[in-house]
Structure formats: C-alpha cells, structure tokens
Symmetry: C3
Subunit: 359 residues, 3 copies
C-alpha cells in the first residue's frame, strides 16, 4: 500500500480488517512500530472522529503526530497548475507539499468538495496534488469524493457483528480491555440473526449479509463521499448482497455503485436487510442540489420491522430526528457508537501498514 | 471521586490540597501513573491558563492529552433531549459523548453559560449531558456556573500563604525546583501576618483567616462561575471567616454563598482581611445584567490599607485599571502569579485522583 | 545565548550553523537533552513552516511542546504599560507572560507588525514585553521587524550549498537519513560553480559568494521582517559580498542593511550572483505602503542568466507567477524546498543552545 485514498489502494480488505481487529484486541502490541516516525495531519476542513481516532491510532503505534488546521492556523492553498497567484491563495501545494514530505513520514489530509463544480471535485485535485508533490504516503481523512477510513471502519464493524471473527477481545483506545467484541456477542459486537434467521447466522453459515445503503433527508447539501466510499468498499469486499435505495434523481456515480442493486422504493429495499447504512447526500447528476427533504425517508422502528432485525449504521455526525429518529439511535439496533469506536482500529491498521512499508 | 464538577465531588479538600502541594514539590513523582492513559480536553469556549495547566498536569503524570476546540475545529453540538436537529447544531451530545468515552480515559470540558436563560445555565445541562453519556470521569474546565479547578487552586494558594504546609519546596512545571514555597516564605509563598498581627500568624496559631470576596467593575457581562465556585469551596473547606461584598442586587445564588456574611459596604468588608479575592460578575437575580460599572469598587492601595496586610487574589484574566489597579497587581500584595502557577498542581492532583480511581 | 530574537543574540553564527548541520546529519543525537523540559509556542499570527519545524525540533530534542494560538484559542492581549483596559484587550502581557514563565522552560512567540505605526512596530514592543515579563528564554518565531529562525536557516542553506561542510550526511526530521547533503552535491545540497567558475568554487577556494537580495512584486503590503533579518544576518556573518536591489523608495532600515551595497537596477545587481534571495516587502520610509507592483521585478530564467548560475532562495509562502515564476521555482536553480527543510535544524540548534544554557 503506497497511499490510502480509496478501496483500490488495498490489495486484501479482509486482511486489513483482521489487522484492525487485532489492534482492537491489543491496542499497544505495535507500540514500537512508529518510534521516531512522525505523522502530519492537515485539515482543510473540520473533523472530529476522524481527527481524534487517527491521532490516537498514531499514539498507539508510538508515532508522533502533529495536527495542523490549514484553514485556521495557516492560509489558503492554491492547487491549480500555472496559477497566477494574485488572488486569495497564499501558497501553492507545489511548494507546501514537498516540505510536508521533508517534515513527516506519513501525511494525512482532509479536504471537502466545493459541491459547485463536479469535474473539479471528482478529479480529486487537492489530494492528488498532495500525493504528487509530497513524495511520502498520503492518507485520506476524507477527500472530495471518498472517505476510505470510514468505509474500512464500516467493513470492520460489519465483520464484527457478523461474528466472523472468533477469539477477538475488543479493547479500549489505550491499555486495558474495555469492550469485548467478536463472536461471543459481548461488548460492542452483537451477533445477528435472532429474529428472522434465514438459513442460519450470516458469516458463520456462509450466507451473504444483505446490506442496504439508504438515503436520508437533511437540511444541507452534503457531499457524496461517504455513500460513494461505502459503495466502493462493499463492492470491492464482495461479501454482501448490496442494495442502494434513494429518491429518483439521487443516483450516485456508477463508478462506485456498479455491482449494487438500485431500488427507489425504500420499503422494498429494506426487506430482510441485515444492515441498514443511513446517509444523506446531495444530487450527483445535477450536481450538489437538494431535490428532496422528504421526512418520510427517515428510518423509524416501523420501517426497521421490515428488515431481518437489521443493525443500523451511520458515520456520524447525524442530525437526530431529521436523518435518523431518536428511537432508532437510542434503541438496540443502532451500532453507531461501536462503529465510531472502530475508527481508531481502522486508522491504526492503515498507519501500521504504511509504516511497515517503509519509506 | 467519580467526576470533578464541584466541591461536592471531593470528600476531603485538605487532602487534595496536600496532594497538589506534593506535586508542586516533586512534579514528576507519579510520571508512570498515566502511562497508556489518554485525557481528552474539549473546549466549547476559549481558555488559556486552564488549558495549558491541565495539559501540563497530564504530561507530568505521563498521560497523553488531546486538545480539541469543538467550536473551532468541529461543529455546534446539540444538548436538548428529543431535539429535531434541523437548525444549526450538527451533532447531539448523545452521539458525541459515548465516543469520547471510547476514545479517552478522562474527559475534560470547558463550557460557558449563555447568560440569557438562568434556568438553563443553572441546570448545567451541557456538562451533565457529557457525564450522563460519556461513561467516563468528567473534569470541569469551567462550566456554566462553577470553576472548580480554579477554586481548588485558590484554596491551595491560601494554604501555602498561610504557611500551613512545612517542608514543601515548590517546583517548576517539569523537573527542577524553581519556586520555593511553603512556610519559609521564600519563592511563591509569602507568609502573612507582618503588619497587623492579630494574635499571631494564621494557620500556625489556629486563627482562621478572614477571606473577603469582593465584586469589581468590568466592561462586559461576565458569568458568576468563579465567584459561585470560590464561595462554594471556601464554605466547604470551612477554615475561614468568609465575607462577600458587592453592590446591592448583585447577590449570588445562596446555594453557593450560604455560610458567608454579605456586606454591601466594601470598606467595612475589607477591614482586617487576610485575603481579598477580586472578581467581577453579572447580576444573578435579574439574570446576566450589568447594574453597575462603578469604578469606586476597584481595589486600590488605599483600600488595601484597611486590611490585615492582605494578599490579593484574582483568577485572571484581569482588566487592569478597571477590575484591579496596576498598583495592586504590580505591588507586593498581589499573589495572582503564584495563584496561576498553582493551577498546574490543582489539575495534577485531580487527574491523579481520577487515574488512581481506575475506570 | 539568553534569547533568540536577532543576530545579535548569537556570538558565533558559524558555530550555530555547524550545530544545525550536525542535527541534520543525526536528528536524534540529543534526544535526551530536552527530557522533562517544556517549550511553549504562542502564536499571535498564522504560521506553517515555522510552527511545524519548531515543534519537530522540540520533539527531536525529547522536549514536550505545547502550541497555543493566542488569537484563536485565547483572547486579545494588551501590551501598553498603564493601559486602562476598558476596550477589546482582555489580558495584559504583564499578567500572561509571568505565568508562561512558570509553565514553560522556553517560550517561542510569533507576532506580526501592524504596518500602521512604524515607531510601535520597530520598538518590538510585543516580543520585548514577553522577554521582560516571562523570565525565561524567548525565541522569536518572527516578530514585528525580524525573522531570525528564517535567517539562520538561510545561512545554513548557503553554507551547505557552498560545500563548506564536508562529511555531513543530511537526514530526515526523525530517524533515518533521507537527504544526503554537504560537499558531495548529493541530495539537498548542490555544489555551486559549474557554469561560470570565477576562480574556483566558492567556500572551498576562499572566494566570498555574491548574495543578492532582490525585492519582488506582491499583491499585499507585507512586513519588512524577512528582508531586514536576512540583511542583518548576512552582514553579521560577514562572509559574503552582499547586494540589495529594489525599486527606489523601497529602502530598508539602514540599521539592518548597513554593509550591503544598494543597487536600484535589478539586472546590474544580479550580475555574477551566486545566490539570489527573492522577497517582497512594503515601504519602510513612508511606512507600510505599496509603491509598485511592477511585474518586471519578478525573477525569470532570462534574468537568472545574468548570474553565476545562482541558486534561488525564498522563505515561502511564495505567490507563484507574481513574486517568482513557475519556471524558476520548478527549475534546477531553486533551493526553496531544501531551505524550508532546513528550518527544522535551525530551530533545533537554537532550542538545544537554550536548553544547554540551563535556566
């Protein structure tokens, strides 16, 4: 793995998932791996879970990390080649990135799309320029179109819940075991398949889980990153029956969704689902618009009854009672906290892989 | 001690004070206590001394700390139960706090009052929601109505000045001894009782010190936190004659002040004081107002002459020549720097207690 | 060295340069020097390279560092003596600085000029007040009129390029050698004197290099700091033929430039230069103005042909195609990345010197 920008950077998703779960069981087992290594974390946009979990992951590996909020502590960067910089941008990525490459061993970057120009956003100019000019491994902390650390976390969490991993005891960020996970169903990971067993438990029996990515209403125009990325990873993983449901004209880029079944009727889509992944996104085709804020798309217990006792996932932050109801988030089906907790182990597995790869 | 939110969380204030003074004498004596522990520090409002001293305290204990400015690096949190989040708040504390509980071993939080709605502020909704949902020990870095780390620091400083602690050599944040403190009067701690001894030195002789909390003018409407908290702690400590003086209609919540004598005449109140604690606050009864900016309430050397050679305290930041005159702050009676320096040891004693308590 | 504010704080520039190059060869050789020491880094203005490199330097020395963005995480400081603080400033440096002196072993500060009042800016009130009141060594991370860490870096880089240092293998921020430097011409450091040798290579042969500081156009009124400071350091170093070229009425303070030859004709100035240092600054005499944005002053390959195959330097950030052309920055003459990389070693040499000096 040279960089960590999309599912395509990973040769074996399952092996990365197992690495993450091994860190969950024993967070400090590679405490010396990052000795005298330094991870730079550049934020061009706000972040909470991603920043904290990646910083913690670096600490668990014994690496130093430095957080720099480019937009607030620094100044506006220029990304266009041959720009005549007489406007608002103060420094070109061609000058900033090589220096990051001298200062750090791994460079992590968060950058959002403009949602104004589809070609620009989908060219991933910002993060690609950092890759091109920094000369060191680059980790996406969410880019214009993808959010790979979130998606890896999601596959980790699905794997855990499926009980496909035995003998793993989950553990706290640093030190002692807190969450017991794995196939025992204790702690974070609750086995699936109670209410409506369809030929036995998924994972163990070999039955593929049905995963439904459902659009949800929101008050703002949001990026397509999480939905794109989840689609890309579930497809690359290849171990699920994957359904995407959304209002008409909310199609995502087929580059990411090809392989999934698209169903416009949410109720039909939810039927017998083992996992429901809830997320809002703005329109892709007619770029960055809100066509609907139809609250009927918000997941409720009534809708959840259509599923196979599905676990409900969300990347957070979530607008309660807009995107997802209190009754779901506070109920037994929600695994959003387990999912967010797993962010640490996803980041740790990725940083470890890059650190092992050497420079 | 499960959390550190108010004086009521502490079973023995004197014992916590002695623990702090022991850290002042030997900052690194428990350097391994925090090994592989992580302290999260969330700021919903600005902070200087509190942030720096708590971060240093964590480092002295060998713990990792991560600072996160929620308002600047993240987004607005929602605290109301059952909120329909279609407004400006992006994430509910019910979702954010449990994740902090997974990421950290101790959670420190600063949050200010609105000064608009008394019931809301005095319900301490924000910090209580973090306690309710994080599942780990919570330390207040100042909340809507209280500032317990400041008040603990104040009792530490008063104890030091009273010479009640012998054989303690004060020491610098990290490493070698810098300030000599304690009963010898060298360094930080200057013994009291020179000019007007009233039956011998306080502390040593058993005489209770007279502590006067005086209102001071200011240009902005400030929270009542520091004044509330100082009152609560001095009363809980129980080792002082405690007087509060302020203009009429500036009464604080009696929940905190009961036990103190309220005197509207500042000159009368100051008479024979051993310590004068200076602070502005906005009105409590008719909530959050400025009734007076009467500069006559600013402490001067002339007024100080009424006291028993009192030491002058302030939590800082202080508006010079508005709240407190240059002549006082730059003169021999001021112990504000000693007081601010002690913030490290207060925080260290509290974090150590929580770390020892285990999870 | 008590503080690091200007070239005058350094008794032997060459010795500090050699110390920096030794750290470049072996970044972690003094990893225990900063054990249990704490470096405070206060930013009253934005910074990227300076902040990151100084933080890395502290880490390389095993010291803890704490970054505090005073303007964003704290509040406005007051610097005027006897101020009546009823305005926007919340805390006086007289109160803040002594506490920094208690919390930290070394205090690093960045503060910019107003560019409105020359006397105020050139009195260096802000940083001098921190020196006066903190009681610990103060390091300038750029002040109102000077930028000494940048200038030290510049002399280090010039020394490296001149090949005056043999047997030095450059190395990465942490750990293993990445850039090979020194007289071999590998990695960062490229020997000079290929195209137009004038009596043999500079440095080795004893010939003084010709260094030209040239004004460049910009869109904003910038401080004179970098130009002042570069002039002061090159003059103090005393090992170069030093020429400054700028449009008329852009004279810098002679306090810093005395010893350099001022030439208004850029082409004439550039002739046979070994190093061209490019920088914009606003007018000094009629303070803080932009008299010219004449793009003819932008360095191009055509102008570079006038030089002795000169290396081109810039402190960054640089406005591409305004201050400096792409063709220069992306071409073989530019050493701006090498220069920026050397910021780490400059900071490390300075912090080490101060740490060795004891308290």
């Amino acid at each position: 793995m040279k960089n960590f920008i999309s599912a395509h950077d990973v040769t074996n998703i399952d092996s990365l998932v197992q690495s993450a779960l091994a860190y969950k069981a024993n967070p400090l087992k590679d405490k010396s791996l990052g000795a005298d290594k330094r991870v730079g974390m550049l934020f061009l946009n706000p972040s909470m879970r991603t920043r904290l979990s990646t910083q913690i992951a670096a600490q668990n590996l014994g690496a130093e990390s430095i957080v720099f909020n480019v937009d607030k502590e620094g100044w506006a960067l220029e990304f266009e080649e041959e720009a005549i910089m007489s406007g608002n941008t103060v420094e070109h990525v061609k000058d900033a990135a090589p220096i990051m490459g001298k200062y750090f061993d791994i460079l992590c970057i968060r950058t959002f799309p403009s949602l104004k120009n589809k070609e620009d956003d989908y060219s991933e100019l910002y993060i690609n320029q950092f890759i091109k000019y920094s000369g060191i491994p680059v980790v996406s902390l969410e880019s214009a179109t993808l959010h790979p650390l979130q998606s890896l976390t999601d596959i980790i969490t699905i794997t855990e819940v499926m009980g496909g991993v035995t003998g793993i005891g989950g553990a706290k960020g640093v030190g002692g075991a807190k969450d017991a996970g794995g196939a025992t169903g204790a702690g974070d990971a609750t086995g699936i398949g109670g209410a409506k067993p369809l030929g036995g438990p998924i994972g163990v029996s070999g039955r593929k889980p049905k995963i439904v990515l459902t659009w949800a209403p929101h008050v703002k125009a949001l990026p397509q990153c999480v939905a794109n990325s989840f689609s890309q990873w579930v497809n690359a993983w290849g171990k699920a029956d994957f359904v995407i449901t959304h209002p008409e004209d909310y199609e995502l880029d087929t580059k990411f969704t090809n392989g999934a079944k698209i169903i416009y009727d949410q109720d039909e889509a939810l039927k017998d689902a083992d996992f429901v992944y809830v997320k809002n996104w703005s329109t892709y085709t007619d770029y960055g618009k809100i066509y609907s804020d139809d609250r009927e798309w918000m997941l409720t217990n009534e809708k959840l009854a259509l599923t196979n006792n599905a676990k409900v996932m969300h990347c957070l932050p979530v607008r309660r009672n807009v995107e997802l109801s209190d009754e779901i988030l506070d109920g037994p089906s929600s695994i959003v906290t387990q999912e967010a907790g797993n962010r640490v182990w996803a980041a740790q597995a990725v940083l470890a892989e890059l650190l092992k790869g050497g420079k």
